[in-house]
Symmetry: C2
Subunit: 244 residues, 2 copies
């Protein structure tokens, strides 16, 4: 569960702001984590009031919450592909959002993200990348001028040591994520393991994303580059929205 | 089982040629498929004669064959990583090997490969890429001036339709691989599915490899670019060896 940092009020404002951007008839990607959960709850309220939407879950957790909230669900395979409706908009949280462009430190931008604190980033990226519009919801504690959190990397179980070596060769320090409610490592919804890889400040997220994606044994990494259309940042009062 | 094309005699010559290139004390990556199987059997004979090697299997099938042949085995996690011995040499087959460089159609080169007919390419790439030297074993039916076979792409089950769309956008025609001894699709040793993706002649394997690797939902693809050190091609009489 991603509960690190940020007030619940700020998260709620961000999530509800993004939920208001959903139109009648939309197919909506439903993100994972505490901020996206507020969007799902608000969507459920809007469905109660007559909004016609169908959700595509990014994880076991978001599927369960959507069902609880009365948001009708569609499988990803039903939503995308030939003759399918497609995903109109996806709403998802982030563990860190880069703000401010090169030489423009005051700008609140829609920079690259780090995701995967909830180990759902493989399916999140599938859904978020398939959506026509991708709205990120966050609180101010997630914003940073330069990404510097550990990058969660989902790996095939047989590949964890080989990938760890490749991460070290790329300047990172990998740590196998341990579970808290079972012995041994966290196992993802896909049956894989997670290496949390610290690279310090990530000056070129695009290059690192390609390096990680092309490393044998890597299933998916938590860098989301070039996917975001809007960032909704909730503060104690009000919401800032940055658009690409 | 990869049994398409090529005489068994040619495969045996290639596999045995590569097995002879293994030195005493080596850690050896053990490939999958009918040609690599000849290398494993020959290694087993050499172990009977006193050769000291340890094998790292690339699949359930190669692990089982190595055990049958008396080749001692090491887990990939024991072979690579800090303070580990590393993999000295890997021997593996290919479904297609590009020969002849740009403007040099008579050269037998060590060009890129297509692998994954046996759906083991994710673990094969882990092992083959980790090895100091990668020896490809093939018969002449696998050689082609330009790669044009379907590229097997291992995908997360939830990602099969989204990846199929991305493959179409990249100019390919994806087909979900069906199983023959069970209903439904082939499920890989990693619990995933396989899309066999026809791109016609692949003029730029490196670019296509990056496109596939960076597509959400792709676990691994069957293009092996820049990994090969030697290609051992068995003919009816003799073996041709091309080195990088």
């Amino acid at each position: 569960m991603k509960t690190s940092g940020g007030s619940d009020a700020a998260k709620r404002r961000a999530g509800e702001s993004a939920a208001e951007a959903v139109d009648d008839g939309d197919v909506v990607g439903l993100g994972t984590g505490s901020t996206a959960a507020h969007a799902i709850r608000r969507l459920g309220e809007r469905v109660d009031s007559g909004l016609d939407v169908r959700g595509v879950a990014t994880s076991f957790a978001s599927r369960e919450l959507a069902a609880d909230c009365g948001v009708p669900l569609l499988d990803l395979d039903e939503a995308v592909g030939t003759d399918a409706p497609g995903i109109d908009v996806a709403i998802d949280g982030a563990d860190q959002v880069a703000v401010g462009g090169e030489g423009d430190e005051t700008a609140t931008g829609v920079g690259p993200l780090i995701k995967g604190g909830g180990a759902a980033h493989a399916r999140e990226k599938l859904v978020d990348a398939a959506a026509d519009r991708f709205l990120v919801v966050a609180d101010p504690s997630k914003e940073a001028p330069v990404l510097d959190r550990s990058v969660p990397v989902e790996v095939l179980p047989a590949g964890r040591t080989a990938v760890a070596e490749a991460v070290r060769a790329a300047g990172g320090e990998p740590v196998l994520r341990r579970a808290e409610r079972k012995d041994g490592p966290v196992v993802t919804d896909n049956g894989n393991l997670v290496l949390d890889c610290a690279f310090g400040e990530i000056d070129d997220p695009d290059a690192l994303a390609t390096t990680l994606a092309t490393t044998p044994g890597v299933v998916e990494h938590g860098l989301f580059v070039g996917l975001t259309d809007e960032v909704h940042v909730g503060a104690e009062a009000g919401v800032r929205v940055a658009r690409r």
